[in-house]
Structure formats: structure tokens, C-alpha cells
């Protein structure tokens, strides 16, 4: 790929998805866009760039953005964020929302559904305490293609073996030939919507817990700051945001502040700094 073509693709992707590609990511562009070329009958990456230069929004343009922004995911990825949800965030939410009995969770880079379904399975484990509650998990992603797979809830044997404890596999999945389908009970807890984080998401409403993991790393600093500030706007005053292990708000925005107690967890500054640990625990979030 020529320097000019790479520069064009870098600018093109940044403008459309906020994806920030360093020069070292050239291999990533080549490996992910070559299948797109094959799919659309385009001979080379140079031809693809030529087509993109001339075209406006359409299936090819969407496929290019989706191919570059689709992230690897698996059930209970990195484990710690899900231990935190089960042991801290969910119990606190149950205490804090006991009067309204309503809980809204946003999985902001839902990809093929493993993250929101993992959260749903953990909520299901606490079902005894949540009878009569209205619980909604909203999964969003830029890619309509991955959301389609998420909605189907069908996973290969390889996919269910990565991270999913076997007890939960047996409990929440049924076999469909060589694949595994998530149970309607778990699937019904999650709704999916396509969303570009660069665009407004106020229409999604307010959330108590936001999981936005491993997506900001692809954005440049001003874009990260903008997305974080807008997440803060849809976060309940006592809500919590979990970012990926390599992500932070520090140096980007004051709209969210580290929880101080749990790595990767952020809250509105007033909540984070308000009181020492025992008071915060007593207050729920």
C-alpha cells in the first residue's frame, strides 16, 4: 500500500468512526480490508482506495468501517470487570435502586454480544433479589453486522469455550448442531442498537452502569475526551462507568473521576470524592 493510500484510509476512518490509526497499524489495514476487497470483487487495496475516493455512503463504505472497528471479544473477557460487576456494582445497584426497582446498563461496544450476555448471566444469578425489577441492558455497536450476530445469539464451540464457565454454558445455552444458542431468558434481557459513539447518544436515556471497554483506545485524545464527556451526561448521578484496562479519563476530562477504590471504574467527580469508603458503601453507588 502506498503512503498516500494509507494516509487517505487513515483520514477516512478517523472522519467516519473516530478510529485513530498510527503508522504502525498498516498491517492491520491490509489484513482487515483484503477480505472486504474480495467480498466486493475489488482487485487490490489501491483499487479499494480509488473507489472510496469517488464514492459516498453505501454498503462498501460501511463494510470498510466495520472491518476496521470490529473488536475481538469473548464471554467474561478479562474476568476482573465481571467479578467487579457481580461483587460490587450489582449489589450496590440493588441497594441503591431498591425503591425504584429499575436498573439500566449500557454495553457501549457490545460487538457480537458476549459482554452484554455475560452481564445478563450475572444478573440472572442474582435473580432472587431482583424479582419484580425492570432491568434493561442496552448493547450498542458501530457495526450492524456484529449486532446481527449478537441478536442471533449463536456461538461456535470455540467462542463458548473462551471465558465462559462450563456451568453457565450448560445452564444458559442449548445446542443447535455445531453451535450453541443463548437461552431466550438471557437474550431477552438485552436489546441491541447500532450506534456510532461519535454521534449523539442522549436518545438512549440515562444509565446506572456503563461498560465502555476497549473502544476508546482506537480514538485520538480529543475524541476520547468528547465521548467521555457525553457518557458522563447520560450517567445517573450515582452511576458508574467501567473502561478497559488500558483506558483512563485522566488528562482527558474532569466530567468523570477515578473511583479510587476499583481500577478502571469511574464516576461523577462529586460521587468519587464525596466521602471515604464506608459512607460510599452505605450510600450504594
Amino acid at each position: 500500500m502506498t503512503e498516500a493510500d494509507f494516509t487517505f484510509l487513515r483520514d477516512y476512518l478517523r472522519k467516519r468512526s473516530g478510529l485513530s490509526l498510527g503508522g504502525e497499524k498498516r498491517y492491520l489495514v491490509e489484513s482487515r480490508l483484503s477480505p472486504v476487497c474480495r467480498r466486493f470483487g475489488i482487485g487490490t487495496l489501491a483499487d479499494l482506495v480509488g473507489t472510496l475516493r469517488l464514492s459516498r455512503e453505501g454498503p462498501l463504505e460501511r463494510a470498510v468501517v466495520e472491518a476496521m472497528t470490529t473488536n475481538e471479544t469473548f464471554f467474561f473477557r478479562d474476568r476482573a470487570p465481571f467479578d467487579l460487576f457481580r461483587d460490587v456494582l450489582l449489589p450496590r445497584a440493588i441497594a441503591a435502586r431498591a425503591s425504584v426497582r429499575r436498573l439500566r446498563i449500557w454495553s457501549a461496544a457490545a460487538s457480537t454480544g458476549q459482554e452484554p450476555y455475560s452481564l445478563a448471566m450475572l444478573i440472572h444469578e442474582a435473580a432472587a433479589q431482583l424479582a419484580g425489577w425492570q432491568i434493561e441492558i442496552v448493547g450498542t455497536d458501530l457495526s450492524t453486522e456484529v449486532l446481527e450476530k449478537a441478536r442471533l445469539g449463536l456461538y461456535s464451540h470455540f467462542e463458548v469455550q473462551r471465558g465462559l464457565p462450563v456451568q453457565l454454558l450448560v445452564k444458559h445455552f442449548t445446542q443447535v448442531g455445531e453451535q450453541w444458542r443463548i437461552s431466550p431468558k438471557i437474550a431477552g434481557m438485552v436489546s441491541y442498537r447500532p450506534l456510532n459513539l461519535l454521534q449523539s447518544f442522549e436518545h438512549l436515556g440515562q444509565f446506572d452502569i456503563v461498560y465502555c471497554r476497549n473502544v476508546l483506545i482506537y480514538f485520538d485524545a480529543p475524541t476520547k475526551a468528547d465521548v467521555l464527556q457525553r457518557i458522563a451526561k447520560v450517567l445517573a448521578p450515582d452511576g458508574a462507568v467501567l473502561l478497559g484496562a488500558a483506558e483512563t479519563v485522566i488528562g482527558l476530562t474532569d466530567a468523570l473521576a477515578p473511583d479510587g477504590e476499583h481500577r478502571g471504574l469511574y464516576r461523577h467527580p462529586a460521587t468519587s470524592a464525596r466521602a471515604p469508603l464506608p459512607h460510599r458503601l452505605a450510600a450504594g453507588f
Binding site: 469473548f74 474476568r79 464451540h157 470455540f158 469455550q161 473462551r162 471465558g163 464457565p165 462450563v166 456451568q167 454454558l169 450448560v170 445455552f173 442449548t174 445446542q175 455445531e178
Partner: protein, 133 residues
């Protein structure tokens, strides 16, 4: 400097190929590895020194994995190993039966390093990827 591993694994499988593949992966994950080609040998090895984890094949001649697991879990020894059940069957009935017999996790064969690493993490035997080849 790398210290001698205190984590031990026992691979029980009648297939020499599977034993070889599993050994190679486990050694890169810093396990000290032994292997057995049948259930009786495996139980004898366990009586001698209980490993941290056993990769146990389901279908073996003479004594199958289910029987090995049953005998292992019936013993009164306090140093019970984690048991990853290895099978080519992926039906939910076989998996549920293995769990009832006392398996901690299962692995569908043929497995690779990534899957095995994930399963070891799940049973609390966190791996050391930085030391891996």
C-alpha cells in the same frame, strides 16, 4: 530469573499426539508435566503425587475418564486437583455428566493454547503469559 515451577499437570489420554500437544502447551505455561496413557496409571501417579491440574480424556479403553474422576473424587485426600475434562463430544449431556462427576471445566478436543489458557484461568490456575514462548 525463572524459578522451578511448583505447578504440576497430569495429562491422561490414550492418544500420544494429544499428550504431546498438551505437554508442549502446558510447559510453555510454566507447568511441570507428567502424562499417562490410561486411567489406572493416572490413578497410581496421583497416589504418588497429586498434581495441581489433570487434563482427563473421557473416552479411554479399560477405565474411562468418568471412572478415573469418580475414584479420584471419592478419595479422602485433601489435595484434590482441578480436573479439566477433555472430550471430542460436545453434547450438553456429556458435559453435564462430567460436571456431576466432579469435573471443574471441560475442553473440547482438539484444543489449542488459547483455549487451554482460558480454562486454566477459569479454574484459578492463572497462567503466566509473559513467560510463554
Amino acid at each position: 530469573m525463572k524459578t522451578a515451577s511448583t505447578r504440576t499437570a497430569l495429562i491422561v489420554d490414550d492418544s500420544a499426539v494429544i499428550r504431546k500437544v498438551a505437554r508442549r502447551i502446558l510447559e510453555t505455561l510454566d507447568f511441570s508435566v507428567r502424562d499417562a496413557e490410561d486411567g489406572e496409571t493416572a490413578l497410581a501417579m496421583c497416589a504418588e503425587a497429586m498434581p495441581s491440574v489433570i487434563l482427563l480424556d473421557w473416552n479411554m479403553p479399560n477405565m474411562d475418564g468418568y471412572e478415573v474422576l469418580r475414584q479420584l473424587r471419592q478419595s479422602s485426600r485433601g489435595d484434590q486437583p482441578k480436573v479439566l475434562f477433555c472430550t471430542t463430544e460436545n453434547d450438553v449431556g456429556a458435559i453435564a455428566r462430567a460436571l456431576r462427576a466432579g469435573a471443574d471445566e471441560y475442553i473440547m478436543k482438539p484444543f489449542d493454547r488459547e483455549i487451554l489458557t482460558a480454562k486454566l484461568d477459569q479454574v484459578g490456575l492463572a497462567t503466566h503469559p509473559s513467560e510463554a514462548a
